[in-house]
Symmetry: C2
Subunit: 295 residues, 2 copies
Amino acid sequence: MSDESMFDTVCLIGIGLIGSSLARVMRRDHLARHIIACARTDATLAKVSELGLADETSKDLGKAVENADLVVISTPIGTNGAIAETISAHLKQGAIVTDVGSVKQAVMAAITPHIPEGVHFVPGHPLAGTENSGPEAGFAELFEGRWCVLTPDEKTDPDAIDQVAALWHRAGSKVDMMDAEHHDSVLALTSHLPTLIAFNIVGTVADLEDSTKQEVVKYSATGFRDFTRIAAQDPVMWRDVYLNNREAVLEMLQRFSEDLSRLQRAIRWGEADMLEDLFRRSRDVRRNIIDAGQA
Amino acid sequence: MSDESMFDTVCLIGIGLIGSSLARVMRRDHLARHIIACARTDATLAKVSELGLADETSKDLGKAVENADLVVISTPIGTNGAIAETISAHLKQGAIVTDVGSVKQAVMAAITPHIPEGVHFVPGHPLAGTENSGPEAGFAELFEGRWCVLTPDEKTDPDAIDQVAALWHRAGSKVDMMDAEHHDSVLALTSHLPTLIAFNIVGTVADLEDSTKQEVVKYSATGFRDFTRIAAQDPVMWRDVYLNNREAVLEMLQRFSEDLSRLQRAIRWGEADMLEDLFRRSRDVRRNIIDAGQA
């Protein structure tokens, strides 16, 4: 890419873990001549300036997007519709809008109606994250070696798709194209359900009487601790994921609960072979993941 | 401890991840003058010899324990009763028998009746492990900084307790005393339930059609992967845990399922505040763990 920037002006709406990591990638590789960061609070914007993540900060979404060639929405997905509506009349002809939401059908339904003729919306989802949130939690290497899934439809401009894909490649990601419905169903199982289960088991512990809770914390290094790390992620972001991928999550949860009932019954009735067989098959899935280089 | 060994002869019955790690600690710190390792198969014993983990290997449990001052049983807990019965008549007066099982009431009920007068049984449980198993998976640092819980009863010889505690201290562990019933209940929640949940969700995926399963593996880095690591642990060991801590696990599973039903209902009916509140409380538990130095 040498000295030439990929984009002239980029507007980052939302500058938490994902948005600020992307800002760091753009800074590191000089991918944008001018970066404008938008957030709801002065405190966040002050932090952004202090960290040098943007050339300009703003709480006025309309003004912020006016000159942007690329607008990246990285806020909890429940806010996306209102944001798209607010920026709609201010978007420049030829601009590209993209997002990073963990659910794609609901986000596309919320954003697409507000995208004017001549502006291109490329829905995206980088499969990356940590249990930390906020602009100070980001880092440029967050996306390296991870997948970024784009879910354009048949009407999406191919050049816009290419530019968004190129940005994620520069961030070190592998880029995949997928149908939005299929994305939501696969992610319900690989991400939304495991996280829900982690929230649930940690919640079960949170409800214990204090003395027992202290002991659970003390002896947490035996499996429980891994769940608390998953369950430490941003509450608002995850609330919105479940509210916006309801059908797929409920379907996977139903399967999970049926399987758990079977397992509960096997324990109650001492069905040793059934337990051992299931545990062996679980280990095989782990081996597939190791073979696929995802461990 | 200088040059003097803690024990003259130690017999390790079972030399998988835990047994072989303990052997490595004893080798490193010269805690035993003579180590005898017992396993069921020639292949395992050949591996033990190749790794230099013992001075002597044997498949004859009776002979192996004859001169032992300390006998450590580190086999799946379903085998403990039969092992105790087999070695009973061969144990030397004054010998100490200990174990490393993840369940304490059932193990004590299985072993105690076979402990002769003048031999001391000190039930123990090092809270340490990895997803790997077998003698080659062990390492001397496995127990460092981890808890080891001993669950002697009021009749257990105090000197024997001290010697077993001293061994675990040398392995780098912090040692705690606990009532066996309480241990089983706390561990059901911190260890047995999370592992069961992990086995279950990985099992749900194992039942998917092949094409979807391949995609779940491909995108596993989004939460699911952490579960597969937990669910890759030894199937026989865990089968025996659930069969032998049935009541406590079923009780915790019941609580978990009730909480999950509530969560499922909140997703179905779009109860945003309830979801966000639960997720915030989960994050607080994580902070407690970080504050307790267990993260």
